[in-house]
Symmetry: C2
Amino acid sequence: MAVTISDVAHAAGVSKGAVSYALNGQPGVSDATRGRILQVAKELGWKPSLRAKGLSSAKAYALGLVVARDPKLLGTDPFFPAFIAGIEITLAEHDYTLVLSVATAPGAEERAYRKLADGGRVDGVILTDVRHNDSRIGLLRELKLPAVTLNRPDADSPFPAVSMDDTDGITAAVEHLIALGHVRIGHVGGAQEYIHGRSRRRAWESAMARAGLAADLFAEADFTAPGGVAATAELLRRPDRPTAIVYANDLMATSGQSFAQSQGLSVPGDLSVTGYDNAEFTQYLNPPLTTIATDPMRWGRVAAQALLDQLNGTHSGEDTDLPAPTLLVRASTGPAPSRTIKQATK
Amino acid sequence: MAVTISDVAHAAGVSKGAVSYALNGQPGVSDATRGRILQVAKELGWKPSLRAKGLSSAKAYALGLVVARDPKLLGTDPFFPAFIAGIEITLAEHDYTLVLSVATAPGAEERAYRKLADGGRVDGVILTDVRHNDSRIGLLRELKLPAVTLNRPDADSPFPAVSMDDTDGITAAVEHLIALGHVRIGHVGGAQEYIHGRSRRRAWESAMARAGLAADLFAEADFTAPGGVAATAELLRRPDRPTAIVYANDLMATSGQSFAQSQGLSVPGDLSVTGYDNAEFTQYLNPPLTTIATDPMRWGRVAAQALLDQLNGTHSGEDTDLPAPTLLVRASTGPAPSRTIKQATK
DNA sequence: AGGCTCTACTAAACCGGTTCAGTTGGTAGA
DNA sequence: TCTACCAACTGAACCGGTTTAGTAGAGCCT
């Protein structure tokens, strides 16, 4: 329908091949001819057909991202939109596009990867939310789909990783609380199925151990708000209940803080709380949340670049380490209560 | 690299054409032959190449969505992730994929649409965040790119719209506040450049007029949290400051409520507050936010279906109306204060 | 002058599908 | 028995690029 390479060739009085060489900056045409062809192409408003290009060069000029989340969780996590924006910044510079799949139903995730791979819709994918012994590693290997993972999987993975350490942030949070005099510091973890759920828990354990404190106040949740409530309730029910809780993400911290307040506890008077992610709304909570400020946009930018490098063979093969996120102290953390612990009112 | 239609044809002892007919359910092959071909194709693990299919049938089998937002705002709006999930649900049923573009820099938006159109990367796009006299309508017309708009643009648009009325929700919020005895009900609007910013403002004005109340407590903001703070500050500075504020979205309501509290006002004792969207975190605010519960996922599902219908010519050409979102009363709204107005403490 | 190499280009094959124009064989109708 | 027609299939063109093999002509060397 639009103007094709043949039209340009005809108008410039050369063959299709010459036009292709000229437009791709390849040798095989004189500078004079190249200039004329480019001129004609511009005049005719020629735009290369991605489809034709893809067919002959066996590339899709697209990267894939499969997000497997509960729809409820999707709208709340501030990570993805910023992360995707970062990916786009990189892709826009390379005439690639992003194909996004959202898998909400169980089993839909594997189907989504297969769909992207089978038809050759994408040239590679970015793997987020890496899980313990993640089955997707094997799947992608089987599908022969190049990939980049966010953080290094605990299972053997042939794919380069782009990592943002979460140890430092959690450690800083725990040390901040210890400096405030807290001793019984609990941790509400994300699903331990995720490696970032695990690493944050381990970071909390290590920091506690280094300070000679017992890391026994742990409750596992699932990164969701209701999960945060349940886990917080569990910790507060303990006879030796914590005076501070380090949450594995902002959403759980938000709902946990809200729950504690509804039980008559003052934050941070009776309970200090820290989050993770620095979602924008956390600064408008009452009190504003002490949290750990990550940079998802940068993560997206770098991950996309690593994948592109891998596709054109210029990737070093080594993992990339991003600067660790830092602690952002706000008003949800304060000195440990000096009085004897009083049970939370039921 | 993979198995092609020629491989299947050879293995089944027929021509490429016959295989194509068989696999697409077209007439021209006997049932016996068709069965044999399908059998062979399955055995060989044949998957059609999207690229080849796209080239010969002049389709991309993909829909586009361009999101033009400030990166800061992106992470906070609960609308998009759920909306995109809805789109995916529909697309997954039709072997289409979603190409997502995020345009953060000014001017990037138009480039993004051109990029999607030029190479033939997508067969159509969904237009969100429709603006007053939206220039994208003309652009898409020029690019000959089929589209569906979310809500009907105020400028002349040839594209079908999928609408979710926001009048009812805002009206319900205002009436709820009036029933609680409020008289001075303000409105913090979103950017009036957006048609949903305008329609929410008009809905507030109409509801006030119907109750015989003056609609003079308006402050325009931009749907962002800092904007909500500024607009709230402006309204509270007025001598006849409002006892209730209807916000055009949750993010502004959240930051506005937080700001009012920081000024020593009690919510809802001194000031009642309503939001719009029902972002999950709003139920964990202190107090939980009265807001309007929309259904972005359904919107995405229906919009994608409308676009697909349009592409294969089965669209009626009429706009689709979705059920209006409803008011969700929580604790941020309460009876109007009976005492004389005291100035907010500075 | 003949042979050689190099540049600049053309013609055609190719990617993997769809689709159109024929071809074949069988059956029905006269 | 001859024609007409139809179902079932084949071969080739086609989509719009890339890429390979081949060629014409210029320039250089001996």
